[in-house]
Amino acid sequence: MKKIAAVLGLCGLSAFALDPAQGADWKMDPAGSKLEFIATFEKTAAPGVFKEFDARLRFDPDKPAGSSLEVTVKVTSADMNIADVNKEIRGKDWFDYAGFPQAEFRSTDLRRTEGNRYVAHGALSLKGVKQPLEVPFTWTGSSDGAVMEGELTVKRGAFGIGAGEWAASNVIGADVKVKFKVKLRKAG
């Protein structure tokens, strides 16, 4: 009996280990990936990028339950392509590079909405504030990997980006559009 139980147990374990619902592990290819943030200045788009970030994903597009996504962003790699602005955003009123050099998004709840569209329900930690965030994305698989792409809008005020007098949204808008394209390949 013990033997049978042990065998059954092993079967159960291996079945669990092979459970496709856990999905494959994916690693980001930085060369093919881009993370943009588009603020507005006097109602005109003011684009920027985070040059350094990384995404790790455990995901099966056919069975997204049990998937997880972890994105780390080196906030200090922000570049808005305007020398004076790049100098300003380092400061305490904006990203506060010294205090909060890194941002994170974590989700363990990824769901399909329709076709190749999904939403990752998770939380964004940015400048010491953690807030729930939904990240919609499309998934495009190919022979050598996959691409996830999406965009969403973040309220900068919720994270204290633009403190004090900058909190007013008439000059620098309240909404920041975030656009991402992440090229992934299967890990290991």
Binding site: F41, K43, T44, A45, D84, E88, E165, V171, I172
Partner: protein, 184 residues
């Protein structure tokens, strides 16, 4: 009377003169405040209005030059000394050059700084030079130098107009005033 003739300015020429005079004075105030304000939303707002007004002035000066070329220019008073005629021509020429050069150098600074900008929130301003910080810094100095020159020429222009009216007692100033103020 719309068109200029040998003695007087028509209504469009006067309108151009006084609207642009008001815009240029406002523009100087905006520019000086924008440049000297501490970094704040107010500073950005001042720059936004300064840039928008500058592009408006550039558009208006283009129309104004076309109108001037399509019309006779009223003659200077008879008997004006040669140096005064030369000074009048030089200062008027300089004012036109500055009304074009100041907006364009401002435009270059904005382009070289790659600052996204829509004139009065409406018309996207295309970049006329590639983003480059040294270019932006250099042309900003030129822009400031041209402003100093404009201030000098404006003082001369206003001083000369007042001198024509109060000292030489001719019609040079009066004929630029709106019709109802004119003495027959």
């Amino acid at each position: 009377m719309l068109r200029n003739d040998a003695d007087s300015w028509g209504a469009p020429a006067k309108l151009f003169h006084w609207v642009m005079a008001a815009l240029i004075l406002a523009q100087i105030a905006l520019g000086v405040m924008a440049a000297s304000w501490r970094v704040s939303p107010t500073k950005l707002e001042l720059f936004f209005w300064h840039k928008s007004t500058g592009m408006l002035i550039l558009a208006l000066v283009a129309l104004r030059l076309l109108w001037r070329l399509a019309n006779p220019t009223p003659a200077l008073p008879a008997g004006m000394p040669a140096w005064e005629r030369a000074a009048a021509q030089l200062s008027h020429g300089l004012l036109y050059v500055l009304m074009i050069a100041l907006p364009i150098t401002g435009w270059i600074v904005n382009s070289a700084s790659s600052i996204p900008f829509r004139i009065f929130w409406l018309i996207p301003l295309p970049a006329i030079v590639a983003p480059d910080k040294p270019t932006a810094d250099l042309v900003a100095l030129v822009h400031g130098g041209l402003f100093a020159l404009l201030a000098l020429v404006l003082v001369a222009h206003i001083g000369a107009a007042l001198r024509h009216h109060f000292v030489k007692r001719n019609t040079v100033l009066e004929r630029m005033l709106p019709g109802t103020w004119r003495t027959p």
